[in-house]
């Protein structure tokens, strides 16, 4: 009996070892979801946009033991795709998206230290990494960033004899001067309060009035007098006829089109605007300045960052091998030879130090934007309630456009997220 049992155990051990060896020899497949940043994203990852080849082909050639099942998904669909996959217990291995905090409470993500090589981790801008920390754990790494500033049409302002505004009062004067000079044919100021950018609109004015989303301790502080005043101010710009006519439905891209066509004089938008205008064939003489703030307050640029994160997969036969494969993916992606092309292709700003030199060499304007990025404030995306707040402040703004009570709206939102 004992002999039989021993034989059985030996067979099981042999089988398990064979199985392990078999798994070890098999190439590991990583499911990757990448967001579509622009027309070139798909081509770069899956087409011919990377020196006649693509990221997947090059990565698999360099790492024959890893296969990529990579999908480029539009921003409109990505949350739906990811949530559906999570609900079906089929989360991707690697995900590129904007927010991460909603995945942490359910224990879906792996800490970055489990898969990210140390030298790469140390290459990220520390200020960026700090934006992806919950409970002292880093859950995601930044893939790229953009910074917001005031873009203005130099000719339109010069013709109207308008100086670039630095304060809210100056901004109102400048708007009135532009209206008077162009007889209403040019919109002085662009405002986007759509569901895509309402949170940015809130940030521009709240941060420029000493308010914001959170207080000094990082707790939600949405219904402060500064924030109420900030929303009132931007609504007054709309009501005074200083802005585009339909801020709740005119997106950033509509505004950029107006700016391209010389129909809009000033606009708060991302550093990608020059690329956007030249892609559209526009010939606007533009310049940038800081975001105007209220009297006696300091304006702050708004930084927006997207992230890469890795999901847990308890069914993976070899966790160490999987983690190593994810690390190799990141190393290849952030390799300056690949990453510089990726970031500059869509006009974004880098997230790693190693790419800065090459980017500035290729386009000196990157240097100035990197300085702006260093002083940016970011959305509190590490807080679990961020999705609610993002939509909540947009709803308050849109309500205010049709006469809603700003204080009551922000009070309700504060009560909902802060309890």
């Amino acid at each position: 009996m004992k002999k039989t049992l021993a034989l059985l155990l030996a067979l099981i051990m042999m089988f398990s070892l064979t199985a392990q060896t078999a798994f070890a020899d098999e190439p590991i497949t990583l499911d990757v979801i990448i967001c579509q940043y622009g027309p070139n994203t798909n081509d770069w990852f899956l087409g011919k946009g990377m020196d006649g080849s693509n990221f997947v082909e090059k990565f698999e050639a360099a790492n024959p033991d890893i296969k990529l099942n990579l999908e480029v998904v539009s921003w409109n669909d990505v949350h739906q795709v990811v949530d559906t996959r999570i609900a079906n217990n089929n989360a991707p291995d690697i995900l590129n998206i904007d927010t991460f905090s909603e995945f942490v409470p359910d224990g879906l993500l792996m800490p970055v230290k489990d898969y990210c090589p140390e030298d790469l981790f140390n290459d990220f801008f520390p200020a960026f990494i700090a934006e992806s920390v919950i409970d002292d754990t880093v859950w995601a790494v930044p893939d790229l960033a953009s910074a917001r500033a005031l873009f203005y049409n130099v000719d339109l302002l010069e013709n109207a004899g308008v100086e670039v505004p630095t304060t809210w009062a100056e901004l109102e004067d400048a708007c009135q001067a532009i209206i008077d000079y162009y007889n209403g044919d040019v919109y002085p100021w662009g405002v986007d309060m759509t569901t895509d950018e309402g949170q940015a609109c809130f940030a521009y004015y709240a941060w420029g009035n000493g308010g914001g989303f959170v207080d000094a301790d990082g707790n939600w502080a949405l219904n402060t007098p500064e924030n109420v005043e900030a929303v009132k101010y931007v609504i007054s710009l709309v009501n005074n006829g200083f802005t585009n006519p339909n801020p709740a439905t005119e997106t950033r891209y509509d505004l950029q089109d107006m700016f391209s066509a010389g129909k809009l004089a000033m606009l708060l938008t991302t550093n990608q605007l020059p690329t956007y205008v030249s892609d559209k064939g526009g010939e606007v003489k533009m310049a940038t300045a800081g975001i105007p703030a209220n009297e006696g307050k300091t304006g702050s640029s708004v930084g927006v960052m997207d992230r890469v994160m890795a999901f847990k997969d308890d069914s993976a036969p070899d966790q160490a091998k999987r983690n190593e494969a994810i690390g190799k993916f990141l190393k290849f992606f952030y390799d300056p030879e690949n990453y510089v092309g990726w970031v500059s292709m869509e006009g974004f700003l880098p997230a790693v130090n190693s790419a800065v030199e090459a980017l500035v060499a290729s386009d000196p304007s990157f240097g100035a934007w990197l300085d702006v990025l260093g002083t940016c404030q970011f959305y509190p995306a590490a807080k679990a309630e961020w999705a609610t707040v993002r939509q909540g402040v947009t709803t308050v703004e849109q309500e205010a456009l049709i006469g809603g009570d700003i204080q009551a709206g922000l009070d309700a939102l504060q009560a909902e997220v802060a309890g």
Partner: protein
Amino acid sequence: MNSPLNRRWWEPYLWLLPSMLLISVFVIFPIIIVFKLSFSEISKAGVIGGYIGFQNYKDAVNLPAFKTVMLNTFWWVVSVVGSSTLLGFIIALVFNQKFKGRKIARAILVFPWATSLVIQASVWNYIIKYEYGSLNSVLLNLGVIKQAINWRSSYQIEFIWECGVGIFVTVPFVAFCVLSGLQSIDESYYEAATVDGAGFWDKLFKITLPMVRPQLTVSTVLNIIYVFNSFPIVYTMTKGAPAHKTDTMITYLYMLSFYERKKGPATALSVIGFLILCACSGLYMITVMRKEEEQ
């Protein structure tokens, strides 16, 4: 006694089996899942937790935008289905007449229905755009207006535009349903009525309408379901802005689930929508069928 017909009693069920299987997998099973989800706790990321009773329903009904959205949905369905049924019926009457170019006119009528709703809505967005919209361009060039008009100056007007696009894309479906009914009416009915001295309206209400009632019933029930569940027009044109004032239930629950990450109330809303649809379609069909039986 044991006729060949009786021996092959199972045959109809066999033929029905593939479609029954498809309906079970793609319709009934998801409905059961959604019902189950609506009583479950669902995290922001979509992870399904335990049973929480009617909490999701309570949360859904207490949402600030709930009443607005329900009212919008009512007006959306009533205006789009009602107007497109009336217009579709009139167009079908016209297209049933013999005139030169009738075939081309019928082919053109299909376009709004055959084109993707997202494309339709995007095209209408460009037409009514304030700055570069083609409507303003045409009117300015024709000298009808001297200054561009903001065709979307309030959310009420935006909602009317959405309903207008809904009507525009729904009319062809009604027209073709009714046209198929009109073509099956025997000419002798009208000839007999003419001999008896009936006028246009008598023929319309006493012959045409009763004869095309089955087609109208089908198109109305299907339209109630399609229009209620229609997502692309509202989402493409306004995304419910400002502050859900132009949302219908379907676009609202999408925003709730994937933008605000309130997945529990969103699931409850989808069940509420399903029950409303069942009730409306069922009630309408029962009423129409009763009338037919009475007649």
